[in-house]
Structure formats: structure tokens, C-alpha cells
Symmetry: C2
């Protein structure tokens, strides 16, 4: 039994909780990309979400759902990326403490993004075991509530609100495309489709160098050894167990995309869409282009997940 599995309608509760706090991001259209892809694209601009990625939705839902007593003790998580920054911002807005466990070697710019929202940073050794142990220690010491980056049911439901909005803004969709890493957004999308997108299929995009979800859906379980190797820095996490369960139940399909195609799509998005989306986001667009025959003539929604990129280190030759 997996206690964290959210019921599909929790996505509606999440939408109510985060209304007025998370941004209702625009849906972008492009005749040029439609012609290239051979379908009608509805691109949900979550790189324009608060804190620069969709993750603010889940963090905000988790923080808003705490009762006053629990809230006063704060929240804690382990993350060196977008979830840490999102949780720090959501906590600051509710006026409660936020602790983020970050591994040695984490990127300076990302740490700055977390601490500028007032979170307390706790350093640990760069292993999964050390991150989880330190997180548990901080929770024990402070009484803070642990908010896992993607296995938490409130986080999953919060991420799903991006898909809810997209379905509403687009009118109807035949296919919804989203990247999958730990599976917070992916599972949230599956739930949103269950309650508001019957008839719409879920197509996930995963880096070839971190394709544990694809492996798990094809073979019944994630691979034994998992050493992520991809330029998609936001998608290196292992697929979560509750997340996998939701995806399996939803019949989600996974398109595995290599980094070269991802960077090609990233450049295309910057040139044509004029949006500085990060590699982990461009992956979804690359999947659409790769699956053009399957998507021909259809109404295809794509979640553009984030835009936290280092302009000094663009991945194509400049």
C-alpha cells in the first residue's frame, strides 16, 4: 500500500488553495512550430511561473494545507533545484520557517536562489542516503513537516493544477506532453486528465540518460543501477514509487529523447518562441517533434516546465 497516492479530485482542492498565489501562466501558440510539428500546439508557459518553474504550485499547495500548529514549526525538504526555491518562496509568503538540505557541490546560483527567499540551508554529503538522513534529522530537531520534492501527495496534486489550467485554456486536448523526472508533474498530469481530460492521452518525455520511468513502465520495475547522465539537470531524480503507480494506472507512455535532440529543440524554442526555456523543458518539445507521425493533426498540450538557465553557459555554440 502506498499511502501517499492522491485521489484525482485533490487536484481541484489544490487549485483552490493556490489561487491568487501561484500565477495563471499563459498558453503560447506558434504557427511556425505547428507547421514543424504537424499538429496544433498549446504550450503552457510554466517557465513564467513564480520562482521560474511549475514547482511553485506543489510547494504552495503543501504549505497552504498545513494547519496553524504545524505551519508554525515550518517545512523542510532536500533539493538543490527548483523545488527548494519554490518551497522557500511559498514558506516565506506564509511567514513560516523553511529548511532546505543541500548536498556539497550544489550549484552556487541555485543555492542563492533558495537562500534569497530566507530559507535555512543545511549541508550534507552528496548521496541520496545523506540527503534523506539529514532531512529526517532536521525534521526531528525542529518539528518541521517534510515536503518531499515529488512523492508528497499535496505536491503531486499541486503540480497537476498546471494541466488543469491548460485543459481549461486550450478547450480540449488529444494529447498532453510533460517531462518526467521524479514524477511529481507527471503524476499530477495523470490525475488532472482523470478528472478533467477524459479522452486525452498522457505522453511523457524522459532523457535517454535518465530513463528509469520508461524502464519501469516497460519492465515492471525501475532499473537496479541508476546513474543519471543528461544535460537535463532538472530530471536526474529517480522516479518515485507512488508516482510510478499513478503513471502505470493512467497508461502513460514515455518518449525517450537524447540530449542532442533536446538541445536542438531548446535552440528552436529560443529562436522561434522567443522563450528561454531550460533543457529539461525543451525535452518535451523534442519529444513532440520526434513523435510527429503519432501526433499528426492532433491538439497537443505541452507543459514548458522551467526557465532557470545560466546565460553564461548556453549549451549550444554561441
Amino acid at each position: 500500500m502506498i499511502p501517499q497516492l492522491p485521489a484525482a479530485d485533490e487536484v481541484f482542492a489544490a487549485a483552490a488553495r493556490i489561487a491568487g498565489r501561484a500565477a495563471t501562466t499563459p498558453v503560447l501558440r506558434s504557427r511556425t512550430l505547428d507547421a514543424l510539428a504537424g499538429c496544433t500546439l498549446f504550450l503552457k508557459a510554466e517557465h513564467l511561473q513564480r520562482s521560474g518553474a511549475f514547482k511553485f504550485r506543489g510547494a504552495c499547495n503543501a504549505v497552504a494545507a498545513l494547519d496553524a500548529e504545524a505551519a508554525a514549526r515550518g517545512v523542510v525538504t532536500h533539493s538543490s533545484g527548483n523545488h527548494g526555491a519554490a518551497l522557500a518562496l511559498a514558506a516565506r509568503e506564509r511567514g513560516i520557517p523553511c529548511h532546505v538540505v543541500v548536498p556539497e557541490g550544489a550549484v552556487g546560483a541555485k543555492l542563492a536562489n533558495i537562500s534569497r527567499h530566507g530559507a535555512v540551508l543545511w549541508r550534507c554529503a552528496p548521496t541520496q542516503a545523506a540527503r534523506e538522513a539529514t532531512c529526517a534529522d532536521v525534521a526531528a530537531q525542529t518539528g518541521a513537516s517534510i515536503v518531499h520534492p515529488y512523492e508528497n501527495r499535496l505536491v503531486i496534486a499541486g503540480q497537476g493544477t498546471a494541466a488543469l489550467e491548460l485543459l481549461d485554456q486550450a478547450g480540449s486536448l488529444d494529447v498532453l506532453v510533460a517531462p518526467v523526472g521524479g514524477g511529481g508533474l507527471a503524476a499530477g498530469c495523470a490525475l488532472a486528465l482523470e478528472v478533467a481530460g477524459r479522452g486525452c492521452c498522457l505522453l511523457l518525455a524522459e532523457p535517454a540518460g535518465a530513463a528509469d520511468a520508461a524502464h519501469a513502465l516497460a519492465h515492471g520495475a525501475p532499473p537496479q543501477d541508476f546513474v543519471p547522465d543528461t544535460v537535463c539537470d532538472g530530471l536526474r531524480a529517480r522516479i518515485g514509487a507512488p508516482n510510478l503507480a499513478v503513471l502505470r494506472a493512467a497508461g502513460a507512455e514515455v518518449a525517450v529523447v537524447d540530449d542532442a535532440a533536446t538541445l536542438e529543440a531548446m535552440r528552436l524554442a529560443w529562436q522561434v518562441l522567443k522563450q528561454t526555456i531550460e533543457p529539461s523543458s525543451a525535452l518535451a518539445l523534442a519529444a513532440v517533434l520526434a513523435r510527429a507521425p503519432q501526433l499528426a493533426g492532433k491538439r497537443v498540450g505541452v507543459i514548458l516546465t522551467g526557465g532557470n538557465v545560466d546565460l553564461e553557459a548556453l549549451p549550444w555554440r554561441a
Copy 2:
């Protein structure tokens, strides 16, 4: 007497003509930029307009206003930039011929952008006199209607629809900021404010290395010698006579901005807004930051004019 001066309400007629053809671009908001600028910013995303810049509005209005006989003979202009591409696209959509006179040495990528919409390119020597003479020759030979990039009243009225929409989307504004080159957008904005933005001031932004409009407004006439020297490749044209007359009547102010500040603002927009706006657009944002004391606490609209940038040659160190 300057026959081309449009009456202010021609902006409304333009809006009606281009409805459904030009895109109603979004207005972007940013808490980060608001904090930096000290005011409330409403950023009109014209870099997301069809053909990648606001110029499609004016071109579309000019093409749509032609009667059937004139339309059949087509349109002609001289431009190697955004106006040429915009006119080519507008003409193709009406199914009429388009001729664009381009000087020797014009950038290949921009030429490709014009010819891919089916326009006929006419080459000429790289001088203002040659451009105008060749344009007149083509018009005489083909009977095509000349559509000047910024002195044409229909073009001016069309550009003004960007400001009309922004005023409507923002609710009300205290200041409207737009870049000025030839003055098509600038004059259009002045007209829009006259009919829909009483109480809103017009603040133009001009490159220090091409500040002929600022000079003209300050000294009564444009400078004798004008050799543009700026990274803002969209703003090297001389201010048009009818345009200057409109701006003078509107009491427009000009903030002169150097290229360093412009590139700084461009980097900021790419990083914070996640929009790949071109230098000529970033100039307007640089002007806002430079004029922060004057704009403190106000509702400030900014037209982000275009996003046609060469990703291989970004102006900051990458």
C-alpha cells in the same frame, strides 16, 4: 503641410482592419522587475507578434486598406528588416504581390525572412537615395503601392494598435514607454494615447548613437549629419517628418540610452522575463530603469517591440 498625418481615431479603424490577422499579444508582469524599477510594469509582448515584431500591425493595416484594384497591383517598400518581412507576410495572406528593395550588404538572415514569405527582392546600392529611387522605379513599373516603413499614415495607425491593446489590457497607465527609430510606433502610440489614454504620458527611448528624434524635439529640427552608431539595429532610421510632427504635438519626451545600458537590460530581460527580446526592444526597459525616480510608484506600460536576434552572436560574453 504634411499630408500623411493620420487623425488619432484612425487607430480604431486600424484595429478593426487587423483584427483576427495580427495577434493580440500578451502583457507580461514581473515582481522582480517591478522591484528593480520601483514601479508597476505592464510589458506588451510584441516580440511574440506575427513575423516576430510589432511591424506586422502597420503592414497588415496598409495591405487591408487597399481597394481590390490597387491590391491586385501589389505593394512595394524599402527595408531590410522587420518591416520588409511584415509586409511580405501581410501581402501573401491577401494573395497579392510584394516587392522589397534591399540594399547590397543586407544581412542574409533578414533577407531569408523576407523572401520566405514570397516577396520579390530588388537589390540596390546601400544609400538612402538609391533605396528610394529603386522603390519609386519598381512602383512605376508595376503599379504597386509604396508602403513606407514608418511615414505612411496607415502604417502609423497600425502600429498604434499595440498601444490601444496595452491600455485596454492594463486598465490604465500613467506612462507609456516605446523605442523610437523612424517613429512609426512612437507616432502610433501618441495617437492611441490621444483617443484612449488621456492622462498617460509618452516616454520614448532612443539610442545615444542614433538620437536624432531627441535632438529634433530639443532643437527644433533633426541634426544635419546623421550617422547612426548603435547595436540597436532596428532603430538606425532617421525620424520621419510626419512622425516628428505627431510627437511634437503630443509633448513626447525622449530618454537617450547608451548601448551598454541597453545590453545590460537585454540580459536582464532574458534572465528574469525569460523572453529573447532584441537590443532595440531592451532599450525601452533600460530607459525605465534609468528613469526610475521619475517613474516611482507609477503604472508603466512598455512595448517590447521585437525578438529577431541571432542566437549565434549574442552581444554579451557567453
